[in-house]
């Protein structure tokens, strides 16, 4: 009897095990497009044998465990590269916005406004007594100063956007670290019976990936399966079920409410990119544009003051004079010059007060106009080039001698190179990440064809086990029918 009963037990176990296997396969099929899903497989194990006299007889099959196919090394790599990709992607998109401010390929650029300004001086030099030439010069001067002002305003606007973006993403970071801490707790609890909490782990990995998009991080797992998450230089965000939130106050970012700016510790990811742009790239461009505007004001005013107006007066400003230190812009600190630059009250609306004359201001005297217009081609103008490094912790300037045109051209060229570089970095990292994702999916991703074959395999096994029950039943029948 024990032999036949054993067959029925084996068949029952096989039916149950295969049913479980089918549900695992179905789970895979159902999650074929779920982001971050790691395919699972039922591990079947044969039951230990029982001893029939001297013989060891097998006791059928049982479902041992459900395992995930995952490669931690690839995952870690993907998270790192995701941070980098998001950093480059964000930089490329903001830089291409900045690029449109400096886009000199169209006809409205600063270069054109400067060219027209100098040409207007030439026209005045050709006919120093002419009112229409003088009026045209004031109009071109107005256009030039407006251009400086609007470029400056656009740069500040992008800078302000960075802070808005940071505010939203910090809220997102806080949400993620909280969820990761909660999942840590759930996973430790669920795995206390030595079974893997596969789907919770998938969820947590997903959250880590989302966190990596925002800011670069490192993590390690403890023996209970809980994660410890830190920023790249070791500032702790999650440890087991505990988590620490970030908060923003103006330009500063605080950790755990402690009023000490930790923004320089946040690298990579979108947050790292926005901080780099906010504290390095954008202020550098603002400073250099200020420098250009301030130098133009200084050069033109110095000559203009010494010249004579049509009525023979001297000591008139062309651009509004600098403020006195400590207010800026002043004669040695051009901060804010690009928004401050405007026609002086001496000349605004009074074309006769343009000091075109060098000796008397008589209507044919063009000597000073000739001096001023030669600023355009003067390659010995002293102008500072600013360089913001380490998020503004290191601000250096180098004094250069070149024409104002060349200085500005260099700024345009640099933004082009910078944008191009970020776009290229982005493409490269994207290709790299795509490759890593493919590698990960080759391990962890679901292949439908494979699952279908698996399904057929399990189905056949289930069919066979059902048949086994029928056969055991027949055997019992024939025993019972014996007389």
């Amino acid at each position: 009897m024990s032999g036949i009963r054993n067959v029925i037990d084996i068949a029952k176990g096989a039916l149950l095990a295969n049913q479980k296997a089918i549900s695992v396969t179905s789970h895979n099929i159902a999650n074929v497009n779920t982001p971050g899903y790691t395919r699972q497989r039922m591990i079947l194990e044969s039951n230990p044998p029982y001893f029939a006299d001297r013989l060891k007889v097998g006791m059928g099959v049982r479902a041992d465990s459900v395992v995930q196919y995952t490669d931690q090394f690839i995952n870690r790599n993907i998270h790192q590269k995701t941070s980098l990709l998001k950093e480059y992607e964000t930089k490329a998109s903001v830089l291409s916005q900045m690029e449109t401010i400096f886009n000199e390929t169209n006809e409205q650029g600063l270069v054109r406004a400067m060219n027209e300004f100098w040409n207007a001086w030439q026209d005045v030099a050709s006919n120093p007594g002419g009112f229409s030439e003088r009026t045209a010069l004031l109009a071109k001067g107005e256009v030039l100063t407006r251009r400086f002002q609007s470029m400056n305003e656009s740069l500040y606007q992008i800078k302000r956007e960075m802070n808005t973006n940071l505010k939203l993403s910090i809220r997102e970071v806080n949400r993620l670290v909280k969820q990761i801490a909660e999942l840590n707790e759930k996973i430790v609890f669920a795995e206390s019976d030595q079974t893997a909490a596969n789907d919770l782990r998938d969820q947590r990995a997903n959250h880590i990936e989302q966190l990596s998009e925002l800011v670069g991080n490192v993590y390690l797992t403890d023996q209970h399966g809980a994660l410890t998450v830190m920023s790249e230089d070791g500032m702790i965000l999650v440890d087991g079920k505990y988590y620490w939130e970030l908060s923003q106050d103006g330009n500063a970012i605080y950790w755990n409410g402690i009023a000490s700016d930790i923004s320089r510790k946040l690298q990579n990811g979108k947050i790292g990119a926005w901080l780099d742009l906010r504290d390095e790239t954008i202020p550098e461009y603002i400073a250099n544009l200020d420098e250009l505007a301030g130098t133009l004001m200084r050069e033109v005013n110095t000559l203009h003051l010494a010249g004579y107006t049509l009525s023979g007066e001297t000591g008139k400003y062309f651009f509004e004079n600098f403020k006195t230190a400590p207010d800026t812009p002043n004669a040695s600190d051009f901060t804010g010059a690009a928004s401050y630059i405007r026609l002086s009250s001496d000349v605004k609306g009074i074309p006769a007060n343009i000091a075109a004359g060098g000796v008397s201001g008589a209507p044919g005297d063009n000597e000073n106009a000739m001096r001023i217009l030669s600023i355009q081609t003067d390659g010995s103008i002293q102008i500072r080039k600013w360089n913001f490094d380490q998020r503004g912790a290191s601000i250096l300037s180098t004094l250069q001698a070149e024409t104002l045109d060349d200085y500005y051209r260099m700024l345009v060229g640099e933004i082009g190179v910078l944008t191009d570089e970020s776009a290229e970095n982005q493409q490269f990292t994207q290709a790299f990440l795509a490759h890593l994702s493919e590698l990960r999916d080759s391990v962890s991703g679901v292949n439908l064809d494979e699952e279908m074959v698996e399904l057929m395999k399990v189905q056949r096994a289930h069919e066979a086990a059902s048949k086994l029950v029928a056969i055991a039943d027949e055997m019992l029948q024939s025993l019972l029918e014996m007389r």
Partner: protein, 297 residues
């Protein structure tokens, strides 16, 4: 390698997106006709093209300056030649009237004519160009020559200054286009000489008439030199203009090489990408049809 179903579809998406990005860029080049549509397209070319544009704008301005300079020079030349003709006529009169055969009456008539010549010379000296007196130095708003009588002799007084009017015809290259009236007219003594001649004719003073003949000869030399000088400056201007025209053409050509899209190349590129795009779509749909689901009931 094992390929997950998801990464297969992702691959298709990425490839098609990349190709559509390429197509968009090519389309932008074709529709704008420009190779560089934003600084990052080609930063170095952009820096070059901005430099070229600034140079072109300067060149155009120099050409405009030169046009104005040319009218100054032409005007000076025409005033000087007319004044020279006027001196020639005075010379004729002086020689004729110095002869003893002339009566006092005819000398009186001649005196009137010389008086007209003096008025004409003064009015030529007060020639204006677009509202500016061209012989006043910097004082272009003031008539430079005023008829005065000094010691019973009619002459002109100079009210301009001693500056010359210059324009820019190249980087740091100035050209004097308006010499002041003192140098051009006053220094030749033309007004004094005409005044004295008139007085001598009125006084019927033969020897004084004879003295003015030499003076007029000196003035003729001065004006001839003056005309030659204007001519020299005009030809310098023309030479410069030719150089600028050549430069202008050259710069425009270089600018076009940098900026303008090479249509033949871009269109070929477009064909290539189009083909790749179609191929990607085709192979993607073909492969997507391959599934075991087609073979099991």
């Amino acid at each position: 390698m094992r390929v997950a179903t998801r990464s297969f579809y992702q691959g298709i998406q990425e490839r098609i997106l990349r190709l559509s990005g390429d197509l968009k860029r090519i389309n932008e080049k074709i529709s704008s006709g420009k190779n560089v549509n934003r600084p990052s397209d080609d930063p170095l070319s952009l820096i070059d093209s901005l430099g070229l544009k600034a140079s072109l704008s300067q060149l155009e301005q120099y050409q405009r300056n030169m046009k104005r300079g040319e009218s100054w020079l032409n005007m000076s030349e025409s005033v000087l030649s007319q004044t020279l003709q006027l001196v020639d006529r005075a010379q004729e009169i002086a020689i004729q009237m110095a002869s003893d055969t002339q009566s006092g009456e005819s000398r009186t008539y001649a005196a009137t004519e010389v008086g007209h010549l003096l008025d004409q010379a003064i009015s030529l000296g007060n020639t204006r160009l677009g509202g500016s007196y061209i012989f006043s130095g910097y004082r272009t708003g003031t008539a430079p020559f005023l008829k005065v009588t000094v010691g019973g002799i009619e002459t002109a007084q100079y009210d301009g200054d001693a500056n010359d009017f210059r324009i820019l015809i190249g980087k740091g290259e100035e050209l004097t286009v308006g010499k002041n009236g003192q140098a051009v007219l006053m220094d030749s003594g033309i007004f004094d000489t005409l005044g004295r001649l008139k007085r001598a004719l009125e006084d019927n003073d033969r020897s004084a008439i004879g003295q003015q003949i030499d003076q007029l000869r000196g003035a003729q030399d001065d004006f001839n030199n003056g005309i030659a000088d204007v001519g020299a400056r005009t030809s310098r201007l023309e030479g410069k203009r030719e150089i600028l025209n050549y430069l202008d053409l050259n710069l425009k050509e270089r600018l076009s090489q940098i900026e303008d899209a090479d249509y033949a190349r871009v269109v070929v590129e477009l064909r290539e990408k189009e083909l790749a795009y179609q191929a990607a779509l085709l192979s993607s749909t073909r492969i997507a049809e391959l599934t075991i689901l087609n073979y099991i009931r």
